[in-house]
């Protein structure tokens, strides 16, 4: 299966430097259609008003966390199958389990490298 790299990708992080890093790494693997949000609620509004093919979200944000965003996405009839990758410094097993139970598509622990990002994206988009 070929990945459509023209799809819109929403990246969510309350730390703008991290958004900039992820955007640049995505650009290097040919995902150029990237939107940003700085917390879960802003992301949810964008997801509900536009069409995205993938969400890459941090966990620890305020007021709406990445986990809450994931739960909202999975509870939304239109968004519930949207591929959702959590990228976070939260690396305890209980975090991974909670995210998985909430329906996360994959989980990347910070700090990560470009190869890990590419590999997880390919996996959740059906080419891994």
């Amino acid at each position: 299966m070929t990945i459509d790299k023209s799809m819109s990708v929403l990246i969510v992080d309350d730390y703008k430097t991290m958004l900039r890093i992820i955007r640049n790494l995505l650009k290097q693997i040919d995902f150029n259609n990237v939107e940003e949000a700085t917390d879960g609620s802003e992301a949810l509004a964008k997801l509900r008003s536009n069409h995205f093919g993938l969400v890459i979200s941090d966990w620890n944000m305020s007021p709406m966390t990445g986990l809450q965003l994931l739960q909202e996405v999975r509870a939304d009839a239109r968004l519930k199958t949207l591929p959702f990758i959590m990228v976070t410094a939260e690396s305890k097993a209980e975090n991974v389990v909670v995210a998985k139970q909430a329906g996360v598509s994959n989980y990347i622990v910070k700090p990560f490298n470009a190869e890990t990002l590419r590999e997880k994206i390919e996996k959740v988009l059906g080419n891994g």
């Binding site: 992080d13 730390y15 430097t17 991290m18 900039r20 890093i21 640049n24 790494l25 650009k27 290097q28 966990w59 620890n60 966390t65 410094a89 939260e90 690396s91 305890k92 097993a93 209980e94 975090n95 991974v96 389990v97 909670v98 998985k100 994959n106 989980y107 990347i108 622990v109 910070k110 700090p111 990560f112 490298n113 470009a114 890990t116």
Partner: protein
């Protein structure tokens, strides 16, 4: 064989238990004054001549009492206002400055890197690939700023917890009669610091799961 030890007349156990229950009712929290009162109640219940062993015990209790009084005085004399008013705010300001300076440096590095990326896109052949590979490594390395920022936030939270605990110790030993005891846990809860128990931020490398551990854990759900 008769017990050679003839100790002083002791108060019946039931009465002692009754007194302790009454004290517990009056002081639901374990306060130093309550402990002192219990000791006084026990000592005052003793009757008759004391043996050498008991005299030694009493002497040790008196010494313990003096040590507690001295500790109370030292704790009460702690200049807790210095800790809460200047020491900890100074430390947290310094840490905030570290975050701000490294963030500015990271932004400058990223900007330069984006320029190099632009140059790479205009090149062809091995040089372009080599340049892009180098910029990828720089982007990856720049994520340190996010991790160090989160680590510093954890340190600031710890400093605030220490501040709350110091205030609790001073309040417990030097507080006015009848004032309520405020435990560090209650202070932290009031400050909203016990929320999001799941979120711990970056782990130290020795305690952290790496990506391969997480991949294995995720695969166990399949």
């Amino acid at each position: 064989m008769a017990d050679p030890y003839q100790g002083p007349a002791v108060i019946p156990q039931a009465i002692l238990a009754e007194r302790l229950a009454a004290i517990r009712q009056r002081y639901p929290e374990a306060e130093p004054e309550a402990v002192a009162e219990i000791v006084r109640a026990v000592v005052s219940s003793m009757r008759g001549d004391l043996s050498a062993q008991e005299t030694s015990l009493l002497s040790e209790i008196e010494e313990l009492g003096r040590t507690i009084a001295s500790a109370k005085a030292e704790i009460a004399a702690l200049r807790v206002d210095d800790i809460t008013g200047s020491d900890i705010p100074f430390a947290t300001d310094e840490l905030d400055a570290i975050v701000a300076h490294t963030a500015a440096a990271t932004e400058a590095i990223l900007e330069t890197c984006e320029t190099l990326d632009q140059v790479a896109s205009d090149l062809n052949g091995p040089a372009a690939a080599q340049l892009q590979d180098a910029t990828t490594r720089i982007y990856e390395a720049c994520s340190f700023q996010d991790i160090t920022g989160q680590r510093i936030t954890k340190v600031v939270t710890t400093l605030k917890a220490i501040e709350a605990k110091v205030a609790h110790i001073v309040a417990a030993f030097g507080r006015p009669e009848g004032a309520p005891i405020v435990t560090p846990e209650r202070e932290l809860a009031a400050a909203g610091l016990d929320e999001a128990a799941l979120l711990n931020g970056p782990q130290l490398p020795a305690a952290a799961m790496d990506q391969s551990d997480i991949d294995r854990l995720l695969a166990s759900f399949d």
